[in-house]
């Protein structure tokens, strides 16, 4: 029997291990740990190839969340933290990653990660995170040229969507699909502020508006809020999205409609990754970028391996 869902904001945690790689044969093992305000991701790479990752919720204690994230990524691999040559912490809580030798901002990491995941054609990366939203312009090597960010207002962030999911009582992963189950696209929620939007949604529910229409109206408002940020940077193609909200098609499709720019297809740039069915997860891109930076630093001899075993 299915368990009753009570916390509708609770998105699923995940982890994955690449069984094609025997890490013991690898020369350089790096990791990136992205401690965000809402979620934590750990990525492990062996010689620059994706080996394992985890995506979990950030708890009230950032160092614990970082350790737990890495532990989950290491599960079933037989690898321990001591086998890792170099670890880079990133994200809002990057200073709280105990096993990291170094920290790099999530802006740099998302650009670098998107370059690897989507390929060198990426020029604009939209990172739609848990408590902030960043529009990043980068070059063909994934180097940041310019960025705009909103980290002061919950509208247009994952947190805003969680608040909405809880209010309307629909699991957060169902929001996207249900937003398309409408006869006609409704007018978007007019309040920008999440707190005022909540009152507006309560009013619409009281009026008896269909739930799916309200979901569509909220997704449209959220997309609009993100477009406002994008407009300040101007999108240059190719346009790629990262972060948790990138998984919400209800927001992504409306963002594409409003800007008239398609986002890159969510498939690996490396065709082998696709043929081997490696999971494509927009939430791990920051941590992946951090692991790639670690790899590059070691390869160039800029840092020493911190490997203990």
């Amino acid at each position: 029997m299915a368990e009753e869902v009570k916390e509708f904001w609770r998105w699923p945690e995940s982890h994955w291990t690449n069984l094609d790689i025997d890490w013991k044969q690898g020369k350089i093992i790096t990791s990136g740990v992205d401690v965000g305000s809402v979620s934590t991701q750990a990525v492990i790479m062996v010689d620059g190839e994706l080996f394992a990752f985890s995506s979990t919720r950030t708890g009230s204690d950032s160092p614990d969340s970082a350790l737990k994230g890495l532990d989950i990524a290491l599960e079933v691999t037989g690898m321990t933290a001591d086998n890792i040559d170099y670890c880079i912490g990133t994200g809002y809580g990057r200073v709280n990653v105990p096993m990291a030798q170094q920290t790099i901002t999530e802006i740099a990491c998302h650009a670098r990660g998107a370059n690897f995941v989507y390929g060198p054609a990426v020029r604009t990366v939209m990172d739609m995170g848990g408590q902030d939203c960043k529009a990043i312009r980068c070059d063909e090597r994934g180097k940041v040229i310019k960025f705009m960010m909103n980290d002061k207002c919950a509208a247009g962030t994952g947190r805003g969507m969680e608040v909405f999911a809880d209010l309307i009582g629909v699991p957060v992963w169902e929001i996207g699909p249900r937003s398309f189950q409408v006869e006609k696209e409704p007018a978007m929620i007019s309040s920008t502020c999440v707190v005022f939007a909540k009152s507006e949604v309560v009013g619409l529910l009281e009026e008896g508006k269909p739930e799916n229409d309200i979901i569509a109206a909220y997704c449209a408002a959220m997309a609009h809020r993100i477009v406002e940020l994008l407009n300040r940077l101007e999108i240059e193609k190719e346009f790629a999205i990262t972060g948790g909200i990138a998984k919400n098609e209800g927001v992504v499709k409306r963002l594409e409609n409003e800007t008239g720019v398609k986002t890159m297809e969510k498939v690996w740039y490396n065709p082998e990754y696709n043929s081997r069915n490696y999971p494509f997860d927009t939430q791990i891109i920051g941590a992946l970028g951090a692991a790639l930076f670690a790899m590059a630093l070691l390869e160039r001899g800029r840092v020493e391996s911190a490997r203990k075993a």
Binding site: S60, Q131, V144, I145, K146, F147, M148, M149, N150, D151, K152, C153, A154, R159, G160, V163, S191, T192, C193, V194, V195, F196, S199, V202, G203, E206, L229, R232
Partner: protein, 276 residues
């Protein structure tokens, strides 16, 4: 002349019945979901209280963010106009009015005749409104009154990082977990809103005397924070939440059923731009 002033805000509706400048009866009620219904019920109640019938009232003027919902009003005037009209009667020396309600915060510059000279408003963001206090009081599991009292006891000023009410709530929860005394958290919350309200006030420029009205003016803890923020004294009239309705009634008495004021709408400044 028998007149009525009705103020429908984001959270509460206020009604005042006035005869030749004297208040006959007044009442307040939460707007709830159906603002029109709540207003009609309250209006009936206040009329009964005064022993009057609907047809006895010669002119009804409405104001407030949902002022247009009063179908039986002869006219609707902007809140800033209503505020100015009432405040200059209550406190003739007033030159700056700060009105903080449940869902908006405004600053109005007036002259000695109660004319609106300049006016700025934040109605887009819950930070800097009464809703922000409500949200944080809920997180602290105390009432607004307790929050006001608590904040007056605080000896330490802790800056709040969050501007947004949603993020602020998480911040308050972390502060509670970190065993920060509740009174210091309460003050941090009031200081944060005072900062936002202060920035709206500075758009029109502060000129003494400064008068604060609206539901949040009842929060003595907030008023202290605002005085610190503005570095000036702030006068609070009696029943500051009835001022809008009083202004509407005064307009009705003066036969004014329409008024226009130009607003400067405050946009959020929540983008950080950077390049490297």
């Amino acid at each position: 002349m028998l007149v009525a002033g009705i103020d429908i805000g984001g959270k509460n509706v206020h009604v005042i019945l006035m005869k030749d400048g004297t208040i006959l009866a007044k009442g307040a009620a939460p707007t709830g979901i159906n603002k029109t219904e709540a207003t009609e019920q309250l209006y009936d109640k206040v009329l009964q209280q005064a022993g009057l019938r609907l047809e006895d009232i010669e002119c009804v003027v409405a104001t407030g963010s949902s002022g247009r919902r009063v179908s039986f009003a002869q006219g609707v005037i902007p809140e800033a106009a209503a505020d100015a009209r009432a405040v200059v009667q209550l406190i003739p020396s007033a030159r700056t009015i700060i009105d903080v309600g449940a869902e908006e915060g405004r600053a109005i510059k007036i002259n000695s005749e109660g004319k609106v000279l300049d006016f700025a408003i934040n109605e887009k963001c819950a930070a800097g409104t009464g809703t922000f206090v409500d949200t944080m009081a809920r997180a602290l599991e105390i009432t607004m009154e307790e929050m006001a009292e608590a904040s007056l006891k605080s000896t330490e000023s802790i800056p709040m990082n969050a501007q947004c009410a949603v993020f602020g709530e998480s911040e308050v929860v972390s502060l509670i977990h970190a065993k920060t005394p509740k009174h210091d958290i309460a003050r941090a919350v009031h200081d944060a809103i005072a900062g936002r309200v202060g920035s709206v006030a500075r758009i029109v420029g502060l000129e003494n005397d400064v008068v604060m009205i609206g539901g949040v003016a009842r929060n003595t803890g907030f008023v202290e924070s605002l005085k610190r923020e503005l570095a000036t004294d702030v006068i609070i009239p009696n029943e500051p939440d009835f001022v809008g309705a009083l202004g509407a009634a005064a307009a009705a008495e003066a036969g004014v059923v329409e008024e226009k004021v130009e607003a400067r709408v405050v946009e959020r400044q929540d983008y950080d731009e950077s390049s490297n």
